[in-house]
């Protein structure tokens, strides 16, 4: 069985106050040198059957219509072999 990972991130031009709050907390915790943080979502999909072009096309469609709101977010789809 293969795993497909969909990562969803706010578009770069959109303010991410959660990421900023994380970034501002870092120096206080002793983690220096992080100039910027942006926070996103990761979906791990366990796929029944082969991850062929047709399956990936459906997953792209799913990401575009549901997992991400492409008005405000970008997404990437990648295949991982699960152990």
């Amino acid at each position: 069985m293969a795993r497909v990972v969909v990562d969803v991130m706010l578009k770069p031009e959109i303010l991410d106050p959660q990421g900023q709050a994380v970034q501002r907390a870092l120096p206080r915790l002793g983690f220096e040198g992080i100039a910027d943080v942006r926070q996103g979502k990761r979906f791990e999909l366990e796929v029944d059957g082969p991850v062929d072009d047709a399956a990936l096309a459906r997953i792209n469609e799913m990401a575009e219509t549901f997992l991400a709101n492409t008005v405000i977010e970008d997404f990437t789809v990648k295949v991982e072999e699960s152990k």
């Binding site: 706010l10 959109i14 303010l15 106050p17 959660q18 709050a21 549901f66 709101n69 008005v71 405000i72």
Partner: protein, 226 residues
């Protein structure tokens, strides 16, 4: 004759009862609609009320947008059915792409609950005809995900077409771009806003103001005179 105005209840909707009451207070007939039912019971207009439909899982409004009742509402809104989205209802309308842009978490990351001053920017919609353009009103605002965002090109288009329907005054409570509190579609039948007119329709409750009643009298007059 009066108009039938539906109010949708999703799992997690909070303000459906207040919205039904606001419809009745304005003189229209309130009709409860259910998220799993595609049938709109022949209503003349629909209110999508506030709350946290489906727990706001994934994104606010993202799951409600795919519910059976929304299939019919999306189809009929495109054909001219008046739809008002309040708070979570506004979020559902942007997720359904009936209104442009999107809603994100307040820029300060806190829940807000306050009375908010707004300017009604246009009386040219089904839901704002009883106001005058430029009129200032005060109604409650309570949300987590109230930050309206859209591409610059879309914002310019909204401004040029007079489709910014409401703007925050005095303070921008959530980081919404260009102080936008609510917008309308090009036809003026679909309107969404974050603040809550349905909580400001009777002097005895809430903050004692009735500044929100005009939303419901606007739609009633439009439907009865149609």
């Amino acid at each position: 004759m009066t108009a039938r105005i539906g109010v949708v209840t999703f799992p997690g909707t909070l303000d459906d009862k207040d919205s039904l009451r606001a419809v009745r207070t304005a003189g229209a007939e309130p009709v409860s609609l259910w998220h799993r039912d595609k049938d709109l019971k022949q209503v003349d207009a629909v209110v999508l009320a506030g709350g946290f439909s489906y727990g706001d899982y994934l994104r606010a409004g993202a799951i409600a947008r795919f519910s059976p009742v929304m299939e019919t509402i999306i189809e009929q809104a495109k054909a001219g059915l008046p739809v008002l989205g309040i708070c979570n209802g506004f979020q559902i309308l942007t997720e359904a792409h009936l209104l442009p842009g999107g809603m994100l978490q307040n820029n300060h990351l806190h829940f807000i609950c306050r009375e908010q001053k707004l300017r009604v920017e246009t009386s040219g919609t089904a839901w704002t005809a009883d106001y005058t353009a430029g009129q200032e009103i005060r109604i409650p605002l309570k949300n987590m995900d109230g930050r309206y965002v859209a591409e610059e090109r879309v914002l310019d288009e909204l401004e040029a077409e007079g489709r910014v329907a409401f703007r925050y005054l005095d303070v921008n409570p959530n980081g919404s771009l260009r102080d936008i509190a609510g917008i309308t579609n090009a036809a003026g039948n679909v309107v969404g806003l974050m603040p809550h007119p349905e909580h400001a329709v009777e002097p005895l409750v809430g903050t004692g103001r009735t500044d929100g009643l005009g939303f419901f009298t606007s739609i009633l007059k439009k439907l009865v005179n149609a």
